[in-house]
Amino acid sequence: MIEMKNLRKDFPVRVKAGRFRREKRVLTAVDGVSLSIAAGEMVGYIGPNGAGKSTTLKMLTGVLAPSAGEVSVCGLSPVAQRTRLALRIGVVFGQRSQLWWDLPLRESFRLLKHVYRVPAAEHETRLRRCRELLDLDAFMETPVRQLSLGQRMRGELTAALLHGPEVLFLDEPTIGLDVVSKQAVRSFLGELGRGGDVTLVLTTHDLADIERLCKRLVVIDHGRVVHDGTIEDLHSRYGSRRRLVADLDSPLPPGFALPGAVLSTVEADGHRVTFTLESIAAGAAVAALVNAASVRDLSVIEPDIEDVVARLYRCSITSTAQDGSSAS
């Protein structure tokens, strides 16, 4: 459904190089990305700020012309066949609006029906579904400029889906939303993904979005893909471990060791200890600890995707610093 081969985007930038002189330099936002996404996949596309996520999405939707490489979406060349492609994809840019600012939401939807030439019955069916799942009825008559961010985002999602797109590109669809709105958007997208009709590419900084929705995770940094696989792959690749945190009545005896685990922190004068479980099962570790010390409370903490990704970003920054900047 989506193919990218050595996709690259350079931006010329002028930087100050003296009182009057300005030097032209090239900033590489996307640096040779190759990816293949099959129909019906739900892919999380993440990376730190400035990594090249949005630039990739703009190239996939035909808004930006790539500097080099090949790209095809639904078998079409996005820039050359942009208007044809527009009929087959849906796009939500979390920070932009595709709705008519001064018109009520209902009017925006009616206009989209004409712009995309959707038959009335199809339009009605899809709109009804979105109204139910996204709870739009309360603000269908409100002009878009008066909608709250959460309401507008639900409107944006509907607008992107009314023409029945095969691929849905979502660029930070939950940015700035409160917990309830986030959950509504996520469960809606989850529902959509389970149908298997729509291929979904999602960029976000909220990793909970990815955990809930996407089996496949692509991490991009400095314009390059640094990880492509499942979330479990990411955990095993970056050595994410479960942790055992225990509150003790008295500190552990000196020289105490838990085979297959590493004592990572000792807090509260030795009354709270944290072990990272390397090659020992949680149950065995708990049993060993309870035998050795008087335990008041304990908990086993699952590896946190945010930690892993933060580590991944940091690794990436370090390796880039060693390589020299990709912008030259």
């Binding site: 609006s97 206009l111 004409h114 712009v115 023409h163 029945g164």
Partner: protein, 286 residues
Amino acid sequence: MDGGDARVPTISPRRPLSASAATFGALMWSGFRRYATYRQATVAGSFTNIVFGFLRCYVLLAVAAGATAGAPGGYDVRQLATFVWVGQGLLTVVGIWGYSDLADRIRTGDIASDLLRPVAPVTAYLAADLGRAGYQLMTRFVPPVVVGAIAFPLFAPARWQTVPLFAVSVLLAVIGSFGCRYLVNATAYWLGDARGPLMFWTLGSGVLAGLYFPLRLLPEWLTITIWVATPLPGLLQTPLDVLVERDGPGLQAGLVALQAVWAVIMVALAAVVQRRAERKLVVQGG
């Protein structure tokens, strides 16, 4: 897979004309509705138009009184008053000023949303602008003309073809003006900010479209040069000259034909510039 995919059977880029007309009509309606939202602004704008109408009318009538034959530029007093008051009414219909929608969308990067629609941006913006003009015609055109007719003797056309020609001329003026404004706004693709060109446009268009004074007051060679070499007289001067029957029937129709040529050139140029811009487009913001 192409547009003929079974899941999207009726969405084809090779649209029949009626379907394209429906899309165009819907986009026109969006422009109409958008302006209809701001009713108080419409009232305030009409009031301003009327105040400036009196100002311009008295100045031009004073010029006429001072002129040797009492007919400066070949206009009599009734024609001059009509020129001013209908001109005041047409000002917002043609919409020479105050349009920076496209430039703003380029500057903020919102233009990306326009590019994601299956309609060429120039077509979509033209449709919306015609809708806007339709709304302004219904609301902003009438008040100054009525006030002018109450306060001054106005010119009544004598030829049967004048009113239909005037209607065509107004439509062409709107299209020509749209082309010009689109081009001025599109400089933002290259400059990032079109405020400079917009300022230049505001100053230049008022003079050369015949808003500040009828272009016929200028030496004949200069008037002809401006008329032939620029699209600007077609934005205001032509429809007004057509209405007040300033020239014989042949030249009256000829001016509208010239206006049509310029309208087509400007819209075509806008489409070319848009295509060029898309190749080098940098969408601002994340």
